[in-house]
């Protein structure tokens, strides 16, 4: 393997994982990124652009685009730090918030300084009680320190911070749903446009970034663009935190260079599949994307390379399943998650995900007929793009790709199929 250590070198390095201990955070990495940001606030957006920092909550959208859109607006602006992490197989933000809350606060502050934002909201899934507690304690330490005053003097803007537990719904992680939630309403996604960068919380420009995205900033500012670009492999930049789970020997969170091959994650860090079974499939990023199969094992795990295999990196969640796993039931489990997570606003999503889940359940329990399978195939054709947000698309993607790769398993599960 590589000579230089590459595991957990940036966001999850020991000096970052100090919990709500401000002094420990400042002892090594803390503070210097923010110092650099205060020196040249006008250059931060450019640095983010040159570093090619992406939205690490799943979209892979270039961060600087949102930032520059918000930065050029005037008046009151919001930053929502999105910690609503809820999808199956994703558990990286919890670690970042519980173990590195000061890294997040400093990152959010840098974003606020860069975009002239006055109001920062840490929007956290209430099920992650440890994360809420850690961020609250860290924020208290931060507010007691000299830093808020220094920032106010340097930028002329006093930043107001607050922690707001989300509603705990999966859909609350969607950008516009998060805005509704921060406004105190049920997290129904809004139609876009207008985009949050123009019309967000209370109609004000709002920047929404994932916890991991923001946590990168202290390091980017401290070490510079060149250093950041060097952290990735190939064209990719920076690092990525992968949540590895499923039938592997060592599941967990692994921070690795962006673009690390899937095989390294599974077999080197995850130490291979359980009880010697072979890999069957990998559900990526949510799991609302196209399934990867063993032929994709060499894929570099960055946004472009995974997209080139018609899938998506998403949140960096990799749920690896072995030959010992039945695909129909597994997909049924995920589609059922999406069905119960649908906010019910769009009829096609509300009924479509529910119906897909029912059909999968019928087939998965040996009760399905040929026409049930045909219905599933049809739903995969008509449902995509029919909702305000991407929830229904995600549910269809995972189902559709499982039909593509594992149709034989569906056929064998039909009622009366030869065993």
């Amino acid at each position: 393997m590589d000579k230089a250590p590459v595991l957990n070198q940036v966001l999850l390095q020991p000096s970052s994982r100090v919990g709500a201990d401000f002094d420990a955070w400042l002892w090594d990495v803390g503070g210097s990124g923010l110092e650099a940001a205060l020196q040249e606030p006008g250059r931060i957006v450019d640095m983010v652009k040159e570093a090619d920092l992406r939205g690490l909550g799943g979209s892979g959208f270039p961060t600087w685009v949102k930032w520059s859109a918000v930065a050029k607006q005037t008046g009151e602006k919001y930053l929502i730090c999105n910690g609503n992490e809820d999808e199956p197989g994703t558990f990286k933000d919890r670690v970042l918030m519980e173990e590195c809350p000061h890294q997040l606060i400093e990152g959010a502050t840098i974003a606020a300084v860069a975009c002239g934002i006055q109001r920062v909201v840490f929007y956290i899934n209430p099920h992650l009680s440890g994360a809420i507690d850690a961020v609250r304690r860290a924020l208290h330490q931060w507010q007691q320190s000299e830093w808020p005053e220094r920032i106010a003097q340097a930028t002329g803007v006093a930043i107001d911070y607050r922690v707001q537990p989300s509603s705990g719904h999966y859909i609350g992680g969607e950008e516009t749903a998060a805005i509704e939630s921060v406004e105190g309403k049920f997290p129904f996604p809004r139609a876009k446009p207008p985009y949050p960068t123009e019309h967000g919380v209370h109609g004000r420009p709002t920047l929404i970034n994932n916890v991991e995205t923001l946590s990168n900033l202290p390091h980017l500012l401290r070490n510079g663009v060149e250093w950041f670009r060097r952290q990735g492999l190939g064209e990719a930049t920076g690092t990525k935190i992968y949540s590895l789970s499923g039938d592997v020997l060592r599941p967990g969170v692994y921070e690795l260079p962006m673009g690390t091959p899937l095989s390294d994650l599974l077999y080197h860090y995850g130490e291979g599949m359980l009880v010697g079974k072979k890999l069957k499939a990998v559900f990526t990023g949510g799991p609302s994307n196209t399934i990867l199969t063993p032929k994709d094992i060499d894929v570099p795990m960055d946004f472009e390379s995974v997209a080139a295999r018609r899938s998506a990196l998403g949140t960096g969640a990799m749920i690896a399943v072995s030959q010992g796993t039945g695909i129909v039931k597994k997909v049924g489990e995920y589609v059922s998650f999406f069905a119960s997570s649908s906010c019910g606003q769009c009829p096609s999503c509300k009924t479509g995900t529910y119906y897909m889940s029912q059909l999968l359940n019928r087939i998965g329990t040996g009760q399905g007929t040929r026409s049930d399978l045909d219905s599933l195939i049809n739903l995969c054709k008509i449902l995509p793009g029919s909702g305000r947000c991407h929830l229904v698309n995600g549910a269809v993607k995972v189902l559709d790709s499982s039909l593509y790769h594992f149709m034989d398993e569906y056929e064998q599960s039909l009622r009366g199929a030869p065993t």
Binding site: L249, G326, K329, E333, G364, T365, G366, Q412
Partner: protein, 545 residues
């Protein structure tokens, strides 16, 4: 190698006598157990390396089964039907039936799944009787004291206290179900004294009390709303997202298919492990007693206890060879039958606790005072003619099953002594439970022999039949109540706990060659090439994916 006296020579020496004194040299000595009881054989135990009891001593053969891989994968459950119920009872013996009956009477929907047929269990093997302090000179306190004293330590006093307190009510309940007991001429319940007890406390029906108990429980279950799934062994438990027990995977022996039964409470009542033939001993146990419940509960994270102690019943038949291990009730010794070595001498007080008596028999044979029955088997005499001499007709009246065993053996126990040797009889340890039968895993209840703690390291005669009904009823009622508890709407179930267990197995570098639960002993015969025969062989099918 020790040479014992050949059978023919020893039987020639034997003379039936009504009374024989216990020689003063028969003092067992303090180190009897340490020197001769199989629980103390060096190297018989290893430390468990995975699971909730990692680090605890466990019999090697049991450890192999506990630390095995599962028989199934999620993929095996493709297209398997799913059924929902409130309470799933696994095991069709006395504990399972009483639990199922009480759960159903409390209003729960109950499925009772049993590996073979309802009643195929060790309950029917129980001959001697059931203890309960119903005599006017007896008290639950005395019953408790005897139980604790006989337990050779490590008893869960709370459980023992609960069991003895339930005693009289258990008898009342059994009579209400229709069970018969032997009565005196006034219609009062007859009792007799068990080994290690201070008062006559064992109620009985001839010498097939367990069979009579099972008869009425079986009828009661068939006449209740309990749905019985026979020939459906459980091969794995199901867990919910919190790791709580949420049902089981049942495998049908009729069509070799799997079913998922989702349940809000699961009661495991699968009995013990006699058919593992620990230390090479014969066993009195039923065919299906291969530790399934221990495996299932352990894999789900339940904590077990005392996995290094087993009861060897002193009087298992040692001759003829083909009936080796068959139980002869302790009731025979209660009625006054002596144990004699090959020189026709008594060597221990026959009513000492079972572990002492068994160790003394093993000592006699180890030191050349036993009877050699051939086939490498030795034994000592159970002097049945002595009780017949004292009370003519007693055998026919009170021990018809023994007489029948005599016919099968070609020996008339009224005239000739029976050759006996300790037989693997009972698993003293097992799943840790509380007074309601709840294990350490929420939603999982365990009752009967699969549990540990009730009897410590040695069980008294008649306490197992009491235990199965006492805790069976309690678990049934509690499991049914749980159904209506907060947050009990049907949850998502999975085999996620298997993943965690497999991870532990791999990290501990355990060989993954064996699968469990075994379901049947290795010598079980199935139709050649039947699907089930393939499953039973415990061979891992090569992964060609």
């Amino acid at each position: 190698m020790t040479i014992n006296i050949p059978y023919d020579e020893a039987i020639r020496r034997y003379r039936p006598l009504a009374e024989r004194a216990l020689p003063c040299t028969a003092d067992p000595g303090e180190d009897l157990l340490q020197r001769y009881h199989p629980d103390y054989i060096a190297d018989r135990c290893i430390q468990l390396t995975v699971g909730a009891n990692a680090g605890d001593p466990c019999h090697r053969q049991l450890a192999d089964v506990l630390q095995s891989d599962s028989r199934i994968d999620e993929a095996d459950l493709a297209a398997s039907p799913e059924v929902e119920t409130d309470v799933l009872v696994i095991g069709g013996g006395g504990a399972g039936c009483s639990a199922a009956l009480e759960a159903a009477r409390a209003g729960a929907r109950v499925i009772l799944a049993t590996k073979l047929r309802l009643g195929d269990s060790n309950t029917v093997m129980a001959e001697g009787g059931i203890q309960a302090s119903i005599e006017k000179d007896d008290t639950p306190q005395m019953h408790y004291d005897d139980t604790v004293k006989g337990a050779s330590g490590q008893i869960d006093r709370t459980l023992a206290a609960q069991m003895v307190t339930d005693g009289p009510d258990v008898i009342r309940w059994l009579i209400q179900q229709g069970m018969q007991f032997d009565l005196d001429q006034y219609g009062d319940l007859l009792t007799r004294r068990a080994g290690g007890t201070s008062a006559p406390r064992v109620l009985y029906f001839r010498d097939y009390t367990g069979l009579e108990m099972m008869r009425v429980l079986r009828e009661a279950v068939f006449n209740s709303d309990v749905e019985v799934w026979d020939y459906c062994p459980a091969v794995e438990l199901l867990s919910d997202q919190s790791g709580h027990c949420a049902g089981a995977v049942l495998s049908s022996l009729k069509d070799y298919t799997y079913s998922l039964v989702k349940a809000k409470s699961v009661i495991v009542a699968t009995g013990g492990i006699g058919r593992l033939h620990l230390n090479g001993f014969p066993t009195s146990n039923h065919f299906g007693a291969v530790g399934d419940g221990l495996v299932l509960a352990y894999r789900l994270g339940a904590k077990l206890r005392d996995l290094d102690t087993f009861q060897y019943h002193p009087t298992g038949l040692a001759h003829p060879h083909h009936l080796g291990g068959t139980l002869i009730t302790e009731g025979v010794r209660s009625a006054g039958a002596y144990l004699l070595n090959a020189a026709s001498e008594r060597f221990i007080d026959e009513l000492r606790p079972r572990d002492h008596v068994a160790a003394a028999i093993i000592r006699e044979c180890a030191e050349g005072r036993g009877v050699d029955a051939g086939h490498g088997q030795s034994g000592v005499w159970l002097d049945t003619p002595s009780i017949e001499l004292r009370s003519p007709g007693i055998m026919e009246q009170r021990f018809p099953k023994l007489l029948h065993l005599g016919i099968k053996s070609g020996i008339d126990p009224r005239q000739q002594p029976m050759l006996i040797y300790p037989t693997l009889h009972y698993q003293n340890g097992g799943v840790i439970i509380n007074r309601q039968g709840a294990s350490t895993v929420p939603g999982l209840y365990c009752v009967g022999e699969v549990c540990g703690g009730v009897h410590g390291r040695n069980r008294l005669m008649g306490n197992s039949l009491l235990e199965i009904i006492s805790f069976g009823r309690r678990a049934g009622t509690t499991a049914a109540k749980r159904v209506h508890g907060a947050g009990m709407r049907q949850k998502k179930v999975s085999l996620e706990h298997l993943r965690a267990f497999r991870r532990e197995l791999m990290l501990a570098k355990m060989p993954l060659t064996q699968q469990s639960p075994l379901l049947f002993p290795e010598y079980a015969k199935f139709e050649k090439d039947s699907d089930y025969d393939g499953l039973r062989r415990n061979t891992r099918v090569a992964d060609d994916g």
